[in-house]
Amino acid sequence: MTGSATTAIAATQANTPGIWKRNQRAWAPWIFLAPGIAMFALYVIYPIIASMWLSFYDWDGLGTKTWLGLDNYVELFDDEAFYTSLYNNIIWLVLYMLAVPAGLFVALFLNQTVTGIRIYKSLFFFPFVISQVVVGLIFSWFYAPNFGLFYNMIEWLTGTGIAVLADDRYVTYGIIAAGLWPQIAYCMILYLTGLNNVAPDQIEAARLDGARGWKMLWHIILPQLRPATFIAVVVTVIGALRSFDLVSIMTDGGPYGSSRVLSFYMYEQALSEYGFRMGYGAAIAVVLFAIMMIFISGFIWKMVRDERGL
């Protein structure tokens, strides 16, 4: 009796010492997370709130801020250039999605065992390795009037060349084509790694059941590539919404602002040589953020659902 009582007391004593010991399991994750949370709060959360706050002011970056309330937004929704940018952003989103199927087909094409296939794979991946700035420059030369390859080709075919980057009808498509080049390579590499994990026994079984070609791809391969597709769609949507470098390098938003996208318009208003309307730029950023949030929350929702195994 006494023996068991003492062990019980000893056991409770061993459990009680220190708040730390008692809460170790609850606290440890937070401590490990703390640096990440601090960074995230400082570099992501705070700037988001600060730009929302700034979007209610008129500020040139130097002088004093004046409170405007919603005036920046009122002006924004009456701003032709804003709608041009928004429209271009939508074109970007839609056409950029072509990178996903295109990447898939390049990956399927390259997923074979031939001598030197690694070299071909690296060559196809190359555009993603070089900087967007370089891609932009290469394509501006490609489109350049009088000496560009594309211009001369069109001239040879139709008699009159088209200066893609000087024509408000084609300019956005021209830039998107340049953007697709590296983006397809990116999707391709995602699918290539995905294809490595396709279960050979399922393919074998499908083959025995007589699946072939499109049927095989649609019912057997693609379902197994779902994680790769998900990531490819996410990076492509985000890539389309944050498109900035190519617009800046290839046209600077021109001709007469017809190739602007929201991120570029924000930069132009807030930071470029003729801009410095910080509040207005911030308002554009907030709108862009809201659009991105639609997609991002969608993705997060899907990810959480998948993790719970629903």
Binding site: G63, D168, E273, Y274
Partner: protein, 413 residues
């Protein structure tokens, strides 16, 4: 072993150098600038001369890339201010003056009698009746033309706008672009607009327009665009100019594929690099459109300012007074290939400079700075986009002017 001894020696040498500098007890004068290589060399020579005359002052020049400087200045003026900084005259300096970031240096002007010697630029350096910087150079804008192209089309250099347009028809027949430009960076188009407006409505109206006092939908503005349309609608301007940089357009002129180019005098160096000589390159002032108007010209002025946060103000003022002297401006501009502001200075032998000097000193209308310096930055951006659009789609004119008018009402409150 050998290597390390060498570097040790170098180290002592450097240390000794530092020591002598410390002994001399020089006051440093920090100067931020955005010079291209040729002007940089000229300024280094001028600084050496200044240091020789003032052995107790050590000018430390920090040179920036042109485009980067325009952003950098906003940061360094409020964060780590130098004693001197380059900028531009006219409305372009207004944001810094209004934000109290440039120092009022009216005393430098009065003490050195600059109001007289720099008279032509006084207006563009004055805000609220005070002077805010010292100009050291300007250059003319006008029409540069390819003499061979004129011969090929068999036309004479025009005197009036009507003759100019007539020539254009002949150039077009000969397969030559009458007027070339490259508006990818927008500003070259503004040069054409400035002259169209200066010649159609005169300097005073142009200044009122850029100061936001006249509506863009005003009939007089429409007259300017109607004259301009005579050039645009028949396709006398280089096609695809919206995809060209100004240098690309310059090479069209060099190759004789284009006849005329409305440009600043800095382009002469590019033309000559491309193989043009004084025999093939010509310069004319923009032809008269509305007869009898006092002739206004365009000559952007580059300036030096003292930031409000400067630490060594006395020496900075001394340096500005030095830069304003006739002799220094002569030498500087000889090297820059531009025109001195000081009316006692001598102008270089270059025929284009001589022509520009002649043209500017007889301009009875007034001297404009350039659209993006006369108009506030935001208006300049919207305006220049409008000019570019007009030169591509002249049929959109009404829409463009309405957009500019809307911007005007917002920007000039």
């Amino acid at each position: 072993m050998k290597l390390s001894r060498k570097s040790a020696l170098l180290g002592t040498a450097a240390f000794a150098l530092m020591a002598t500098q410390a002994v001399a007890e020089q006051r440093t004068l920090k100067y931020y600038a955005d010079f291209d290589p040729a002007p940089l060399a000229a300024f280094e020579a001028a600084i050496a001369e200044f240091e020789a005359a003032n052995p107790d002052i050590d000018v430390v020049l920090q040179n920036f890339d042109h485009e980067g400087y325009k952003t950098a200045i906003r940061n360094f003026l409020s964060a780590d201010s130098p004693d001197l900084a380059n900028w531009y005259a006219g409305n372009r300096m207004a944001p810094f003056v209004n934000a109290g970031q440039f120092m009022d240096i009216t005393d430098v002007w009065t003490d050195n009698n600059l109001g007289e010697s720099l008279a032509s630029a006084k207006g563009s350096m004055t805000i609220d009746g005070k002077q805010w910087g010292v100009p050291y150079t300007y250059y003319q804008w006008g029409i540069y033309y390819n003499k061979d192209a004129y011969k090929q089309a068999g036309v004479e250099v025009p005197k009036t706008w009507a003759e100019f347009i007539d020539n254009c028809a002949k150039f077009k027949e000969a397969g030559i672009d009458c007027v070339t430009t490259g508006t990818k960076a927008l500003w070259p188009g503004a040069g054409i607009f400035d002259y169209m407006n200066l010649r159609t409505n005169g300097y005073d109206f142009h200044m009122e327009l850029t100061a936001g006092k006249v509506a863009w939908t005003d009939d007089r503005v429409k007259n300017t665009f109607a004259e301009w349309a005579k050039l645009v609608e028949p396709g006398y301007v280089t096609a695809n100019h919206a995809a060209l940089d100004w240098q690309d357009a310059a090479s069209l002129l060099i190759q004789g594929k284009a006849a005329n180019y409305v440009m600043g005098n800095f382009a002469v160096a590019v033309f000559k690099d491309g193989g043009m000589t004084n025999d093939t390159l010509g310069f004319m002032q923009f032809p008269e459109i509305t007869p009898g108007l006092p002739r206004g010209e365009e000559a952007p002025t580059d300036t030096i300012h003292i930031p409000a946060g400067a630490k060594n103000v006395d020496d900075a003022k001394k340096f500005l007074a030095f830069i304003a002297t006739a002799d220094v401006q002569t030498k500087l501009n000889e090297a820059l290939g531009q025109l001195p502001i000081n009316n006692q200075s001598k102008v270089g032998d270059d025929p284009f400079l001589q022509a520009g000097f002649e043209m500017l000193s007889t301009a009875d209308g007034g001297i404009a700075q350039f659209f993006d310096r006369d108009a506030p930055a935001e208006m300049a951006k919207v305006g220049m986009e409008g000019f570019q659009e007009f030169m591509v789609r002249p049929e959109n004119l009404d829409k463009i002017l309405e957009r500019l008018e809307k911007a005007r009402q917002r920007i000039y409150k």
